[in-house]
Amino acid sequence: MAKGQEISIRPKGDVSVIDIKGDVTALTGQPVEDAYHHVTAAGAKKILLAFASDCYINSGGIAVLIGILSESRKKEQAVRMTGLSAHFQKIFAMVGLTKYAQIHLSEEAALADF
């Protein structure tokens, strides 16, 4: 895992929360993908990507997230996102990621949306 990156998983009711701290880029995306595959193997149908507010996400990281959303769609999993800074909320909307995983301003709101 890259320096400064922390990826962890925790259950919240029937939702699998993946906490993401640090950079999400092509170089650092593997642990995020691994966490997604881990919860998927455990049968997760509801997944919340909880980003730290100071996450740095570039186009390579966006590709990693698109890959996860593509796979989750095939597996009929619901994915939501929270914790993103205003800048990355804007970028995710610009790219169209929000069509496939809604962004919520708080974890509580995201959990309530499943």
Binding site: I66, H87, V95, L97
Partner: protein, 140 residues
């Protein structure tokens, strides 16, 4: 023009150096009193231009440099990011729906982000390499 100030930075084509360029551009933009959201736009655009220069222009060759030039002018900041590689040609606009369906590669968002985050953008291929020129205005 006498009122212009120019700052330059030259970086090796190594993974992660785009963050140095981001911080460099942000520091200059903050001295011009750009609002925080526009500084974030600038940081992402500069990072993407550097990533393209490193990966596609210089092909990750650490001996090849990426040049970042910032020109401060009245009410605007001009940024030029230059590599030493051959032209990369036209890049198709990515389509998230096709990418989600698995019908196209999920990469390729860098130029899209640059065009959407900056106020003016041009791409040039010269005998010395590719140059991305970006302008961000204070009053937008």
């Amino acid at each position: 023009m006498a009122s212009e100030k120019k700052f330059e930075l030259h970086l090796p084509s190594a993974p992660g150096v785009e963050k140095v360029a981001m911080d460099f551009a942000a520091a200059v933009a903050k001295t011009m009193n750009f609002p925080a959201d526009r500084v974030e736009d600038l940081k992402s655009a500069v990072a993407e231009a550097c990533l393209n220069a490193i990966e596609h222009g210089n092909k990750m060759d650490a001996n090849m440099k990426v040049g970042i030039s910032l020109t401060v002018d009245k009410g605007r900041l001009q940024v030029a990011v230059q590599d030493e590689g051959a032209g990369i040609g036209q890049v198709p606009t990515p389509n998230i729906d096709k990418q989600i369906e698995g019908k196209s590669d999920p990469r390729g968002w860098g130029i899209f982000l640059i065009k959407n985050l900056m106020d003016e953008v041009t791409f040039e291929s010269t005998p010395k390499g590719n140059v991305v020129k970006m302008i961000i205005h204070l009053d937008k």
